[in-house]
Symmetry: C2
Subunit: 378 residues, 2 copies
């Protein structure tokens, strides 16, 4: 293997692949990055066995030659060291060559590195994912869906299935749900080319967080290809494979109340800032609970009390309040997460009493739903 490459192109590709690299992997070769050189370009592969990321840099891009392939071949190099070396090379032109055995020569300007590589034959083979069960959506929509749901997955391994987000398609509609059993986030959407057959799978929250970092913030299409125990997200130059979680996701639809006794519409940003301030004192205690009261007039009162530190009370103006008077307590963190997911628009909160789950939606749009269980306080 011998090739020259533009350092910035190599760094961009490395930057994506590094997101799959973990120092805590059971298979030692996965601390490395696999480099494959073919005539048409360079492929980098990184994996922690849950996530695998593969990037491709074509020999030519936009008429510019980025890679000069002298000899095809493959090698696996220690990811962290390789990445740091490339980052710090003195010139933008990098020559990489495998010599006798697995020793790999990296040179740039008057700087010469010799790294001990690993045998590419020992690197795990990527799962074979067939294209027959796939659909696509714009990258920025995918990023929104991830952002609006993934924060609500469970952080605990006691029910592993809840550490993932449930993607389910029926009749051309896609529903994405995450819950940690104290709160729930749901996003509905109708991508253009949904497969006719219904599907249902659960993607680990961690995979979606890494995917979100890699996806571009534009309308470029992302293809989603579903296999048995894997899902593949495919953009122009990046393949992102994630393991799927095994098991049945609980039926969450029956948790969502379909009636309400008190309905409050309020500016999301004002409410978020108010909860944030109230939680400053609540945070000092273990539970981080704030109290929310809606009653006569259009005022909402947010308060919190921490016996050793002090108390806070504030009033914010609602747009409308209808139905019964209400006093309810909930986790400030869950409320702030939900409000951030709905993101600053006017929001409607529908309560069915102080002890029942309540839901938050955008005032103008039903696609995002956030549900929170209140906390009993005496």
């Amino acid at each position: 293997m011998k090739f020259e490459i533009n350092r910035d192109e190599l760094l961009d590709a490395l930057n994506d692949v590094m997101k799959a690299i973990s120092q805590k992997v059971a298979i030692p070769i996965l601390t490395g990055i696999k480099i494959d050189i073919e005539e048409k370009g360079m492929t980098l592969t990184g994996s922690d066995s849950d996530i695998t990321i593969r990037t491709f840099v074509p020999t030519e891009k936009d008429g510019e030659q980025n890679i000069k392939v002298v000899e095809k071949g493959s090698i696996v190099l220690q990811a962290r060291v390789f990445n740091e070396i490339i980052r710090k090379l003195p010139t933008n032109n990098v020559m990489i060559e495998t010599e006798t055995g697995l020793q790999t020569h990296i040179s740039s300007g008057k700087s010469e590195f010799k790294l001990i590589g690993s045998d590419p034959e020992d690197y795990p083979i990527l799962p074979d994912v067939k294209d027959d069960n796939s659909f696509s959506m714009p990258s920025d929509l995918m990023k929104s869906i991830i952002r609006e749901t993934v924060f609500a997955v469970s952080q605990q391994e006691t029910r592993p299935i809840l550490t993932g987000v449930h993607w389910e398609a029926k009749e051309g509609k896609l529903s994405c749900v995450a819950t940690d059993s104290h709160r729930l986030a749901r996003r509905l959407t109708s991508p253009d080319e949904m497969p006719l057959e219904p599907f249902s799978f659960v993607i680990p929250g961690k995979s979606l967080q890494e995917l979100n970092k890699i996806l571009p913030d534009n309308t470029e299409s992302v293809e989603i290809i579903i296999a048995d125990q894997q899902v593949l997200f495919k953009t122009r130059n990046v393949l992102f494979y994630s393991r799927l979680l095994e098991g049945n996701y609980p039926d969450t639809s029956r948790l969502i109340p379909d009636e309400s006794k008190t309905s409050v519409t309020v500016n999301g940003r004002s409410l978020l800032q108010s909860i944030d301030r109230a939680s400053l004192l609540a945070r000092e205690e273990r539970n981080n609970i704030v109290r929310f009261s809606a009653g006569e007039g259009k005022s909402i009162e947010i308060s919190s009390n921490s016996p050793e530190v002090g108390k806070v009370e504030e009033t914010i103006e609602a747009i409308t309040i209808t139905g019964e008077d209400l006093n309810i307590s909930f986790s400030a963190k869950y409320m702030m997460d939900a409000l951030r997911a709905i993101d600053g628009q006017d929001i409607t909160i529908q309560f069915t009493g102080a002890m029942r789950p309540f839901i938050l939606k955008s005032a103008n749009d039903d696609t995002i739903l956030q549900l929170i269980l209140p906390v009993r306080t005496y």
Copy 2:
């Protein structure tokens, strides 16, 4: 106590004082900030008992009224919570009032906080530092002196005196020295108004690091006032007190060689980048050692070898090399710290053999000296 204050002015003052606040203090009241309101303005005091920072906000500044004092008085409030509350208040106008007992009312817009304060009588009294032993220098010079020396203090408490920087004045000259016994940094300067009497004191490295964060990056004068066990740095609106270290600082002057067998002048930035790259592999081993060879011609060779990861070799062009051929090994970290302190200029390195300490200076200027002990390698 009752006053109104412009939130941004309060935040600026808090930001400085917070640098003295530690959650790990033995005296509980020091987790608080003391607020003193007088007719002429507000004084904030924070302390971790090693460092004490006091800021003053005048009632009027540049013709603008920043504070409206309704009633004079003092209170101590939990620093972390108070700081976060002020940061998140909804308007730029803040009203603070102590009510019955120590309860303190903070309000802004429709947001109302009641914090449980502590008795200001319980707050430690600041040491009395008299002005008779003082000198001054511009703030930016002080920052340079700190940056060029403080990194070399010892991080170990085995010899506490070495965790500080030794400031010594003789005949109008100030010498600032730090050493951890493996390397040494020295900065000489001649401030305008040095006291006639010689002095010598050792300031904790940690104090200087915090002071550096507070000092402005301009030529505003900083007055340095020396007392028995304290030093006070005084700028227009900030008083920074630091405890001094007790004990005798070792005589370091005899460590500095006054002859050299090999002298190398080289661009500091090129050498720094080269050592940085070589240390990428050295870091994987415990010791982080790189090898430096200067011999025939004007080339320096930097190399490093890590049996399990690989090796690196590179050549950089020196400006001049005079004297004996040399092969020497040293800590990449110490070399990089020293080169960063001298900061990118052409530098001269003077060696007296592979087993003797060597010194680095700017090629044009003797005020900064860095000394490093080499490492024996076989």
